[in-house]
């Protein structure tokens, strides 16, 4: 007894040094909440700068962690360490990604009209808390930790969505988010309990090994997999758990919509890919199933993921065609983008144990491009929406004259989301299509091509409104800070589109 307490104390003491960025985020949440509570009349600008400082400190600690490969809060087992978290290059990329998104959202929130005359400490605290949850999602190698990370990020997101209490749309979006979210996580946790029952363990490595010799049938695994995929699809905003997406994106304050569409989706992919790797590791056990056929342990995963990819891109693009609200349109667009990204995951699931398979570089590259194009688009929507009060497509009429730089930035982001050269979206999508074709998923690549053509309708609808339609509205003063942020988000899209080879090389370093 005494001995096991000693062991636990040592594990915690050793683990602390592995989670310094997470501790800094945690401290930031506390500082922001206390500052908001105790300092009378604290200005939104002050809390924003506190948040920036906290995020930068966390970023510095994170950069110091680059190249580390360590199990955190681990215990020794016969064949190696088992931990709650695994700090590796894959986790590192997604953590930097999420942190960068949170940083970009701060200037957007500072500019947001509905946020000007109120205390903002709680909002930034929620932003930091969601970021902390996503950090854990990216590095979790234990089902319990993955579940806690997902819930932590979700709960902060529910509250931030409904942050503007006087705004009916925000409350409604928040309610739908929390209802769908708790249903999805409940179904997922039931699936996780089945996996635990089949393998007797919560750690991914142990699960992978136990599946190797498990007596579970392929049907049992399939039921658990479908239930669990519900929860992951919810975080990725992919079919079949995409219903919440349009309402929440429309209702949430635009800076937070931007955060959700980029960081939340990336963290969802990170936690899902890590989970999937457990099922496809070790070449997979074989099951003798129907009619004596042999199945691998990855059994249905490539099929489930490929089907979800196909449905997500189709549902997303068809849904977007009829939208008049730009935030809602981009919500459907982000469902479609999740479909394109899932295509890379399907290739990964199918080819994880093959010599040239299991390549995550296309996924990473597309996420880098997605970061700039989606945040750029939402930045323009936030700036224009704060000044005109509405964000329907007709509100963007004549934007090419009223705010030329903003219109140009949004136009570039639209072309990149569509996948047109010379932007990063084109190179990213080409890589996704190429790997799909190389790995016998030609039908999926063809479907993605058809979907790209469909998506041209709604992306060009916005471009047409901005440049070809007349509007009586006057010139919109965007402000130099907003233009600087826009330039920082749009310029890299051209770099990614034209000088992509160093970044493609860079994106190769983040597999397992």
């Amino acid at each position: 007894m005494q001995n096991s307490i000693e062991t636990a104390r040592r594990i915690v003491a050793e683990g602390m040094s592995g989670i310094i960025p997470e501790i800094l985020l945690c401290a930031l949440v506390c500082v922001l909440l206390l500052a908001d509570l105790f300092i009378r009349g604290i200005k939104p600008r002050t809390t924003a700068w506190i948040a920036v400082l906290g995020f930068v400190a966390c970023g510095a600690a994170l950069i110091a962690r680059n190249g580390v490969h360590a199990e955190v809060f681990g215990w020794q087992q016969a064949d190696g360490m088992r931990g709650m978290l695994l700090n590796d290059q894959f986790a590192w990329f997604f953590q930097v990604f999420v942190l960068a998104t949170a940083l970009v959202c701060i200037p957007m929130a500072m500019d947001h009209a509905a946020f000007r005359a109120r205390r903002m400490g709680e909002f930034y605290a929620l932003l930091a808390a969601a970021t902390l949850g996503m950090f854990l999602m990216a590095s979790a190698t234990n089902l319990l930790m993955a579940y806690l990370g997902i819930e932590f990020a979700s709960m902060a997101s529910y509250l931030a969505t409904a942050y503007d209490k006087r705004d009916r749309a925000g409350s409604e979006g928040g309610l739908k988010y929390v209802i769908y979210g708790s249903v999805a996580s409940g179904i997922m946790i039931y699936g996780l309990s089945l996996i635990y029952g089949m393998t007797g363990s919560l750690h991914y490595t142990d699960i992978a090994q136990a599946l190797h010799v498990s007596a579970a049938t392929e049907g049992q695994l399939l039921i658990a997999a479908i239930l669990i995929f519900g929860g992951f699809a919810y975080k990725m905003a992919a079919v079949p758990m995409h219903f919440w997406c349009p309402d929440v994106y429309e209702g949430a304050p635009t800076p937070f919509t931007a955060y959700l569409s980029v960081a939340s989706k990336a963290a969802g992919f990170a936690v899902f890919v890590r989970f999937l790797a457990a099922f496809t590791a070790h070449g997979g056990p074989t099951f003798t199933g129907f009619g004596g056929m042999e199945f691998e342990a990855s059994f249905g995963w490539p099929v489930i993921v490929a089907a979800a990819a196909a449905l997500s891109m189709t549902v997303g693009n068809l849904g977007a065609l009829w939208q008049t609200n730009v935030k809602r349109m981009l919500a459907y667009s982000s469902i479609a983008q999740a479909g394109y990204l899932l295509m890379a995951v399907a290739v990964y699931a199918a080819g994880h144990d093959k010599p040239n398979g299991g390549d995550l570089a296309p996924l990473v590259f597309y996420f880098i491009a997605y970061f700039f194009m989606n945040l750029g688009a939402f930045h323009v929507i936030s700036v224009v929406g704060s000044r005109t009060g509405a964000v329907t497509v007709s509100d963007f009429a004549g934007l090419g004259r009223r705010a030329p730089w903003m219109a140009f930035g949004l136009g570039v982001c639209m072309l990149s989301l569509l996948g047109m050269p010379p932007t990063g979206g084109f190179v990213g999508k080409m890589q996704l299509l190429q790997t799909a074709v190389e790995n016998n998923l030609v039908w999926l690549a063809v479907l993605a091509g058809i979907n790209t053509a469909i998506s041209a309708f709604y992306y060009f609808k916005l471009l047409k409104s901005m440049y070809l339609e007349k509007s009586a509205g006057g010139v919109i003063q965007s402000g130099s800070a907003n233009l600087a942020v826009l330039a920082l988000l749009v310029a890299p899209l051209f770099v990614l589109g034209l000088a992509f080879s160093p970044i493609a090389e860079f994106s190769r370093g983040f597999g397992f």
Partner: protein, 105 residues
Amino acid sequence: MLDVSLKHYLLVAALMFAAGVGVIISRRNAIAVLCGVELILNAAALNFVAFNRYSAPSGRLDGQVFTIFIIILAAAEAAIALAILLNLFQQTNTVDVDEADTLRE
């Protein structure tokens, strides 16, 4: 004397899960939907406890610990959901999820 085995626990949990899904699908009242979610979470918790007792390696308490976290998170989630619901109720005087439909094209 009835011999209670893993099978019985799993059966109860599966029934509870099915009841939860049934409630979520059939009821439009947001509070009733949350009750359905609660049933699903408890079904999962029962599964974890039963699996830990019957099929996990001896000496490991992963499933029991997981259950404690499920209970805590269920409470936190309910608190957040009710806070948001109360805020919406003050604006609209309804807790019916079908009435909350201004966000639609």
